[in-house]
């Protein structure tokens, strides 16, 4: 047997495997994506635009942006805090803490929403108190924000922790030995070192925040124009057999997904050495 056949496959085998992989990806990923745009434009451009500029759709977009604008920055602060504490210090129960940070990823989205119903709902722990003080969290915007924070909780932290672990502490020690204080060390040395990794984590966090369905669905109450995010609005339109409008709004989220993938690929290509790629 010749050497070439032992370290690579015969030509026909290579092409068979490539065909198999591409065929599966086409069927499983490309077709669904194409279907979104096809269905949205099934009745032409005007029907598409009508689905998007309808007031309830606009309200849903505004709410989605608002929720992401709160949940993402809070999770950025959390992610940086957690990564700093975990990678710059030695302490007990560190690996337990890392496991707990990943926890929201292994919880069903529906359960992620339910937990807030149990705490803040009418029959929940704080329900009576909240009612007394006329504060509504469940079936209102605060509940949606909380559920979104829960499901997007680990994204930034799990990107930064391995990255900062790899980068070590020497740069910070150098800055401190040169007289920099804590804030100067962070803003002038650490932050520039992690900026691309941070952006990477934020991209994924934002995509999930804007697209979350299950958790938000449980706490939203589905009040049109008030507590419907874009994914929830899509569901309502779909269940009303208003398919064109449903897919029209869906193209916006699909567009967001494509932009996210493009930027992510760009970052991986350009700054591979300054990222920790491999987070889900």
């Amino acid at each position: 047997m010749s050497r070439s056949t032992s370290t690579t496959e015969p030509g026909w085998m290579r092409w068979l495997l490539i065909a198999l992989a591409l065929g599966f990806l086409l069927l499983n990923l490309a077709l669904p994506l194409a279907a979104v745009f096809f269905e949205a434009f099934r009745k032409g451009w005007d029907a598409y635009v009508a689905g998007i500029i309808e007031p309830d759709a606009i309200a849903a977009m505004k709410l989605t942006l608002l929720v992401a604008a709160i949940a993402v920055p809070v999770n950025i602060v959390f992610g940086i805090s957690a990564a700093w504490a975990i990678t710059k210090f030695e302490f007990r129960f560190k690996s337990l803490l890392i496991t707990l940070i990943d926890l929201p990823f292994s919880v069903s989205p529906v359960v992620s929403g339910l937990v807030y119903v149990l705490v803040f709902g009418l029959q929940g722990w704080l329900g009576p108190w909240l009612r007394e003080h006329d504060v509504q969290i469940i079936f209102a915007v605060p509940g949606i924000v909380l559920a979104t924070m829960f499901v997007t909780f680990p994204f930034v932290a799990r990107e930064l922790i391995p990255l900062m672990q790899e980068q070590g502490r020497e740069d910070e020690e150098a800055a401190i030995s040169l007289g920099a204080n804590g804030w100067q060390t962070f803003t002038r040395v650490t932050l520039p070192n992690i900026r691309w990794g941070l952006l990477y984590g934020v991209l994924l966090c934002n995509a999930r925040a804007m697209g979350e369905f299950g958790a938000v669905s449980v706490v939203s109450g589905h009040i049109r124009g008030l507590t419907n995010t874009m994914p929830l609005h899509i569901e309502i339109l779909y269940n009303e057999y208003n398919f064109v409008a449903a897919f029209a709004v869906a193209t916006l989220l699909a567009g967001l997904a494509l932009v996210t993938l493009a930027l992510k690929t760009l970052l991986e290509w350009r700054y591979r050495d300054q990222l920790h790629v491999g987070g889900h």
């Binding site: 279907a35 210090f89 529906v110 119903v117 502490r169 299950g214 449903a246 690929t265 491999g278």
Partner: protein
């Protein structure tokens, strides 16, 4: 100068939770981390178990192990297992092709693999339904053969296959890339054929990663909601997944019922998380060797 050390001025490492360090900000960052983790994740999650505990054992069993719930678990876990298996096979092929071969459009294909991570599940759900409905692109083609996908348990498998693929690809890919050509050349120089090289050298090296990818895809699929509910048809005892049953209970204001099922699902998640940690440890040891 004196050579006597002054014990009073001696800095001592704290023997407590954290080692003393010159890095600033431990109290602030650790404080915020623990506070935020507790408020957003730990306390709300504990509510599931505390509420369940308040139901009593019989009350719990009555809901969590009701006939309808058992059907839902069977569908959720069964469909997740089938979907993860499909993804293990095709995910391995995709990872192999991406690591080993060059072909036009490879970068695009590579980016597309992560689509399920980026595409909102509701969008995936309606798109898959449109494709597999009897009048859809794929459904219309399958219907004459008597194969129905949408609004059937098979639809659940299709949706779970969609969302699970990147978990397998992205777990296997780095291990495959790390397995440089040297080991294969070594195997070949020792007289192994291509198939023997794969079976005896490559397969054992990637098996832990493949198992990890399978488990990650499975764990994600068990809890999946958004992409499934549109295509499943949601008939009790037939095509109703466990997360949907929780939502159903909630819509009927049966919060204890929802909580009992949620507690069961959470325990399953934790067992899976533990299994995944073990698998990842196995995978890391293999890679380090």
């Amino acid at each position: 100068m004196t050579t006597v050390a002054l014990p009073a001025a001696t800095p001592r490492a704290r023997r407590g939770l954290v080692e003393r360090s010159i890095m600033p900000g431990f109290g602030l960052t650790m404080g915020f981390t623990v506070f935020y983790l507790s408020v957003i994740v730990l306390i709300p999650l504990s509510a599931v178990f505390i509420t369940t505990a308040g139901m009593g054992f019989d009350g719990f069993v009555e809901v969590a192990l009701s006939q309808r719930a058992l059907y839902a678990y069977r569908l959720s876990f069964g469909a997740a297992a089938i979907a993860a298996s499909i993804n293990a096979v095709f995910g391995l092929v995709v990872a192999w092709v991406l690591v080993r071969y060059e072909f036009p459009g490879k970068r695009l294909v590579n980016a597309l693999v992560d689509l399920p991570f980026a595409l909102p599940t509701a969008v995936a759900g309606i798109a898959l339904t449109a494709l597999y409905a009897p009048n859809g692109w794929i459904g219309a083609w399958l219907a004459p053969h008597g194969i129905k996908v949408a609004f059937q348990p098979l639809g659940v498998v299709v949706a779970l296959t969609f969302i699970g693929l990147p978990f397998v690809v992205r777990t296997v890919e780095p291990v495959l890339a790390d397995l440089g050509p040297e080991v294969e050349e070594a195997a070949a120089s020792l007289g192994a054929g291509r198939w023997q090289t794969f079976a005896r050298v490559i397969w054992p090296a990637i098996l832990p990663a493949l198992a990890t990818g399978f488990a990650l895809a499975f764990a994600r699929a068990v809890g999946e909601y958004g992409s499934v509910i549109f295509i499943a048809g949601n008939m009790p005892y037939k095509s109703e997944i466990a997360p949907l049953l929780i939502v159903m209970q909630l819509e009927q204001y049966n919060i204890p019922g929802a909580t009992a099922i949620a507690a069961t699902m959470l325990i399953a998640s934790f067992v899976l998380l533990f299994a995944i940690n073990l698998l990842q440890g196995w995978s890391r040891r293999r890679m380090a060797a």
